[in-house]
C-alpha cells in the first residue's frame, strides 16, 4: 500500500517509520527543509521537502497513486486543505486527518474527510473514563458519523436504576445493546435490571443524545467523546 504522510512532526515521523517497518511504501511531505533532512537521515530518502498544501507538490509526491493520504500536521486548516485536495483533485480512496481542535471535527466530517483522529478528544476520553465528570461518553462514530456508540455510566439517582431494560423508553433509532458490570460485558436482555455502577452501551444517532441522557442519567445532557 502506498501511503502519503503530510507533516513530518513527531506524529508523521513515527507513523512513517511504523508503516515502513510493516512493509508499506511511504512518502513524507515536510515543508521545513531542516526537518525534512533530519527525517531523511533517520529513515531514508522518503521525504519530499515541500508544502503539502500546494497541489503541485502533492502531485510530485505521488498523491494521484496514493491509497491513503494522512494529513498529520499541527494545523487543522492545513490538514483540511490537504485532505480536500487529495480527495477531490487526486481521487485518493481514503483520507485521514489529525484534528487538533475538537470543535473542527464536524467541519472535517462534513467536508468529506474519511477518518478523523482527534488526540485532544482521545486524551479527554481517557481522563473521563477514570474521572467521570460527564456521564455520557462517546466511544466511537460509525459510518460517516451519523451513528454514535455511547457509554452511560449509571450513578445513584439515575432514573434507570432498578428498572428492567425493556421498560426504559428509548428514543427512535437508538438502542441499548450491552452492559459492562464488574468488568464483564454482557448483551442486554429486556428483563435485565440495571444497577448502580453499570456501564450501559448504546448506539444511535447523535441527535438522540439528550433523550438518552434523560433516560439513563437524568438531568441536563452533557457528554464527552473518547474518539
Amino acid at each position: 500500500m502506498f501511503v502519503l504522510v503530510v507533516g513530518g512532526g513527531k506524529v508523521g515521523y513515527y507513523l512513517a517509520k511504523e508503516l515502513i517497518e510493516s512493509g508499506h511504501e511511504v512518502v513524507v511531505m515536510e515543508k521545513d527543509r531542516a526537518r525534512a533532512d533530519q527525517i531523511a537521515d533517520e529513515i531514508g530518502s522518503i521525504v519530499v521537502a515541500h508544502d503539502g498544501c500546494e497541489g503541485k507538490y502533492l502531485g510530485q509526491a505521488g498523491c494521484a497513486r496514493a491509497n491513503i493520504v494522512a494529513a498529520v500536521t499541527g494545523d487543522d486548516e492545513d490538514n483540511l486543505v490537504i485532505c480536500q485536495m487529495a480527495k477531490h483533485h487526486f481521487d485518493v480512496p481514503r483520507t485521514i486527518a489529525r484534528v487538533n481542535n475538537p470543535k473542527n471535527e464536524d467541519l472535517f466530517r462534513h467536508l468529506g474527510v474519511d477518518e478523523i483522529i482527534s488526540p485532544t478528544r482521545m486524551i479527554l476520553g481517557a481522563i473521563e473514563q477514570d474521572i467521570p465528570v460527564h456521564e455520557l461518553l462517546h466511544l466511537a462514530a460509525l459510518g460517516e458519523g451519523e451513528l454514535e456508540i455511547i457509554e452511560a455510566h449509571l450513578q445513584s439517582g439515575s432514573p434507570a436504576i432498578g428498572r428492567a431494560v425493556g421498560d426504559i423508553s428509548m428514543p427512535q433509532g437508538c438502542s441499548l445493546f450491552a452492559v459492562v458490570r464488574d468488568g464483564i460485558a454482557t448483551p442486554l436482555r429486556p428483563d435485565m435490571t440495571l444497577k448502580v455502577g453499570d456501564k450501559v452501551i448504546a448506539i444511535g444517532p447523535s441527535e438522540c443524545e439528550a433523550l438518552l441522557h434523560e433516560q439513563l442519567i437524568g438531568g441536563d445532557s452533557e457528554a464527552v467523546s473518547a474518539r
Binding site: 511504501e25 512518502v27 530518502s45 522518503i46 510530485q60 505521488g62 494521484a64 497513486r65
Partner: protein, 152 residues
C-alpha cells in the same frame, strides 16, 4: 626522497551522470585501476519521481541511459580495461550509489561534478555529492570539471 605513494583500489564504483565528466572519471579510474586489475562498475541511476511506482519501466526503455553506459564502456576499452555497466532506477541517486557501493563492497566511489553556479553566483554542488560524502562507507573521489569561461 620517498617513492610516490601508489593509489590502490580493488573495486571501484563510478557514478555516471551523462555529462562530460563521465569520460574523464572513467578514464581516470581505468588508468589507475589497470596496474592492479581492479574491478570497475559503472552505474547510471535514473531517478523516478514519487508520481510513478519504483518498478515502472523507465530506465530500461531509455536510449539515453543506454548510450551513457555504452560510452563509458568504450572509454574504458580505450584504456584496455573492462567495466561492468549497471543501470538502476531509484528515488534518490545518492542513496542508490551508496547502496550499490555497499552491496559490492567497493573500496572507492567516484563521482563527476560539473562546474555550475546558482542564480546569484554561488557555486552549486547539488545534493547527491554531499549525500554520498556523508554516507558512503568507502573512499569517495569527486572529480570536478574545469572552469570554463562560460561557466565562470
Amino acid at each position: 626522497m620517498s617513492e610516490p605513494h601508489q593509489i590502490v583500489f580493488r573495486r571501484a564504483v563510478i557514478a555516471l551522470a551523462g555529462g562530460p565528466a563521465d569520460a574523464r572519471i572513467v578514464q581516470l579510474v581505468s588508468e589507475l585501476g589497470r596496474p592492479v586489475k581492479a574491478d570497475i562498475v559503472a552505474v547510471h541511476v535514473v531517478e523516478i519521481g514519487w508520481s510513478l511506482p519504483l518498478d515502472a519501466d523507465i530506465a530500461g526503455r531509455s536510449e539515453e541511459a543506454q548510450q551513457i553506459l555504452d560510452l563509458a564502456e568504450a572509454t574504458a576499452e580505450e584504456s584496455k580495461m573492462r567495466l561492468e555497466p549497471i543501470l538502476l532506477q531509484a528515488r534518490d541517486v545518492g542513496a542508490a550509489l551508496v547502496d550499490e557501493a555497499t552491496e559490492r563492497s567497493a573500496d572507492l566511489l567516484v563521482l563527476g561534478l560539473p562546474y555550475r553556479k546558482r542564480f546569484g553566483g554561488d557555486f552549486a554542488i547539488g545534493r547527491t555529492i554531499p549525500y554520498v560524502l556523508k554516507n558512503a562507507p568507502c573512499a569517495v573521489w569527486v572529480v570536478r570539471d574545469p572552469i570554463t569561461e562560460e561557466a565562470s
